[in-house]
Point group: C2
């Protein structure tokens, strides 16, 4: 068993690249653990998601973008639970051909994303991956005691809403795999889709509105159809008016040129928008609060009784289901 | 980019293998995040360590042992900080050839270690590793507010103590690599060393005694010499009486047959014992409390002034230093 080639020591890397990102409780990264205590009257919310080179991102992506994605996909879960970020731990498994240049750019991007979200680094671990890079993040947030917005709370009759636009991440991935795709798109549209795939924007400002209005919430990371199915089950299904699912101008242009793109739009991953369920009498207040906060939010359907997968009613009246619709990063 | 072969869905795996391990706050693993709140008057202590197949363990090790190691190395950090375990998150990156049989045995071992430590599973992530397996754990503990025992608190004149015995993990690794090694050892000794390498035993019962008596503490995971150097620095060094470093009967036998084994004993990893610094007037109370609790604890040296690596004074009077002595898993 090869225990690692000669390299800068882990402690040297920590002092140079990670200690500058350290938050309170991390003791300047000179310890093997950090303290973290929720504010009085609050619960901590904890979540962990990892991204792997060649699985969740392209190994040649800019290191700063990879860092931003690794933290962003976790902050998206924090936001979906109605929580405010408090800090994160990083597990960085590096391939044998890593360079200090890569690490410097990665930690610079990580620091930027961390500062933007008010979410400092609290600690972590750096190991040799003996394969592709893996970046694991554990993110911490806090909510008023008992205030976490669960994935399970949707009830028959609740209205279903989604933030932002759906499908851009999936189309951005198609574009990334085949840059010649969708020649009909103008440069601005292509840039928009590529950016949506590369740079999740966690909906942190939505968190307090979810706590106020939503009974269930999750982020759309594995595709709208599949994530909706995860939210429901146990006798609950949904009818979605597919014509109301919010699309960006770029996605509308692409869909007009190729109607079959409705499938990746509704089932592809990497949107990092918020899907939530609200009682009918809370819908107007949610939409008004979102409008006042500048967060796009759209009602797209209703929770119904049943054990079948959610029905998507297309503009021509046909119904589609996506039985195994969830996009899987696994 | 291959997004994964057909397999049981991640949700199916979670329900079958991980939900039975879920603790309070995890909502039965039906959400993307958990809540965790320290007891009144306590801080949370958070730590993350990952182990990688072929780097930190042998891919052919029993899955239950791998699980026990992944959790144990983290609980060892929790114990070293004086904390009581509260829960953990698991990031499991599986190679393409994983089997459900492996996962069943892994989660069974994980559940046993989790129950034994009173440390339930709170959530996590399962991804395709596109390389060897990686098991990342984030462990949570709690200490009375402000009570964390830091790595940095050793002062000149403090006595240095270590729990249990040192070097068994390193000798167990040598034995694992070369089963014909140390033919002089009897079977019980060989079993002892192999077990110490395979199965860390986090010193959880030591945590309250560290809070009471120690000013600095860390677990010995990367070798006594290197970890001691990490604890010191900033004008602090140490003199260690190598003859007092506690060795198991197996390690003493091996060392008698080959005196050069003092090097892996003092610099090899995987001991998961506790190294701590106590003021001289607290030493007797620490040793008495440890004896009363049934925890072996031995004074091995003293913190001195200086910027050189710690001196190990061998029984023949010669002095050794281990400048880059820290065993690196990286």
């Amino acid at each position: 068993m090869d225990r690692g080639a000669p390299r800068p020591s882990e402690d040297g890397l920590i002092a140079r690249y990670f200690a500058p990102l350290a938050g309170p409780g991390a003791d300047g990264m000179r310890d093997d653990a950090a303290t973290l205590t929720p504010s009085p009257g609050c619960d901590l919310v904890v979540t962990a998601d990892a991204i792997v080179a060649g699985v969740h991102y392209f190994p040649g992506d800019p290191p700063a973008s990879i860092a931003r994605k690794a933290l962003g996909v976790n902050l998206s879960d924090i936001a979906a639970k109605g929580a405010v970020p408090r800090g994160f731990l990083l597990t960085l498994a590096l391939p044998d051909d890593w360079t200090e240049e890569w690490l410097a750019a990665f930690t610079e991007g990580l620091g930027g994303a961390s500062r933007a979200a008010g979410c400092p680094l609290l600690g972590g671990d750096t190991v040799r991956s003996a394969g592709p890079a893996l970046i694991g993040v554990t993110a911490f947030g806090e909510v008023p005691t008992g205030g976490i917005v669960r994935r399970t709370g949707a009830r028959v009759g609740h209205r279903l809403c989604v933030s932002g636009t759906v499908g851009d991440g999936a189309l951005g991935l198609i574009l990334r795999r085949d840059p010649a795709w969708a020649a009909a798109l103008d440069d601005a549209s292509r840039d928009h889709l590529a950016d949506r795939y590369l740079h999740p924007r966690p909906r942190l400002s939505l968190a307090p509105l979810l706590r106020r209005h939503a009974r269930a919430s999750m982020d759309v990371s594995d595709g709208l159809a599949g994530d909706l199915a995860k939210m429901l089950g146990d006798g609950r299904s949904a009818v979605i008016d597919a014509g109301t699912v919010p699309l960006s101008a770029a996605a509308r242009t692409a869909l007009a040129s190729d109607p079959s793109l409705i499938d990746p739009i509704l089932t592809g991953g990497d949107d990092y928008e918020i899907l939530c369920a609200v009682p009918p009498d809370a819908l107007d207040a949610l939409l008004a609060d979102c409008a006042a906060t500048g967060i796009p939010m759209t009602a797209i359907g209703t929770v119904t009784a049943g054990d079948h997968p959610p029905d998507f009613v297309l503009p021509d009246g046909t119904r589609r289901t996506f039985a195994a619709g969830s996009f899987s990063h696994f």
